[in-house]
């Protein structure tokens, strides 16, 4: 055991189920191992921390909101989604194998003290507000992530 605190930074860019699953698995496990863990959600990755309500004000913003609605429970896999059938299939396969559900894994990460940061620029572009996100997410930017990553022993871009 070294004296310096163990830190890990996980940046989630993807809005796909499989990527989010890897990110929350690493985050909750890292926190359980006593590693100070920060997750940074950017672009499509923000879907993993949205409440699931419709978002957006302008025409395009609302279009993104419609396409992106439903939050973490409506995240589809990067392959074999087939318009939502794949999502249902993977969820069922995971349930059958007693794998922890994605939303539960996220809650586990929160309970273990994982810090959630969100990219404010992506939020502005996609017309998502802090009220559209689950509680406890802090707004941040590239400098914060870089500063945290510099101090971390492991950095993940997912």
């Amino acid at each position: 055991m070294s004296e310096e605190p163990q830190k890990s930074v996980i940046m989630l860019m993807s809005g796909d189920f499989d990527h989010a699953f890897a990110a929350f698995t690493l985050a909750s496990t890292g926190a359980a191992m006593g590693i100070e863990t920060t997750m940074f959600f950017t672009f499509w990755g923000i879907k993993a921390i949205q409440k699931g309500n419709f978002t957006g004000k302008g025409l395009f913003g609302r279009m993104v909101g419609v396409m992106n609605r439903g939050g973490i429970d409506r995240i589809g896999p990067s392959k074999f989604n087939f318009g939502g059938i794949g999502r249902w299939m993977f969820k069922k396969m995971m349930r059958d194998q007693d794998v922890t559900a994605l939303s539960e894994l996220r809650q586990q990460a929160i309970d273990l003290g994982v810090k959630f940061l969100v990219c404010t620029t992506s939020m502005d572009v996609m017309e998502i507000t802090l009220d559209d996100l689950i509680p406890g997410v802090e707004p941040a930017g590239a400098a914060t992530v870089l500063a945290e990553a510099q101090q971390a022993q492991s950095q993940w871009f997912i």
């Binding site: 055991m1 698995t25 909750s28 496990t29 191992m33 006593g34 922890t100 273990l112």
Partner: protein
């Protein structure tokens, strides 16, 4: 080594990665320093994972054994 009796048992059988490690860490936190936790698991990955977790957190893996299709771990909280 004399027999170590656990203060608490965590039944993590049927749980998949990362839950055995996550639950173990939560249970160990609830023990006083020096307390011993027995973990029962069925995930084959837990053999490697619990060892890695113990090494990383500085807690002591007193004993680890495969019993039929299960994996049993005795963990002492060090800090």
């Amino acid at each position: 080594m004399s027999e170590v009796t656990p203060d608490k048992t965590l039944d993590a059988r049927g749980l998949k990665c990362p839950m055995p490690v996550v639950k173990t860490s939560q249970e160990v936190k609830g023990l006083p320093v020096g307390g011993v936790l027995l973990v029962l698991a069925t995930d084959p990955g837990s053999m490697a994972d619990i060892q890695a977790w113990a090494k990383s957190t500085g807690n002591e893996l007193v004993k680890m054994e495969k019993v039929e299709k299960e994996f049993h771990f005795l963990i002492r909280r060090v800090k």
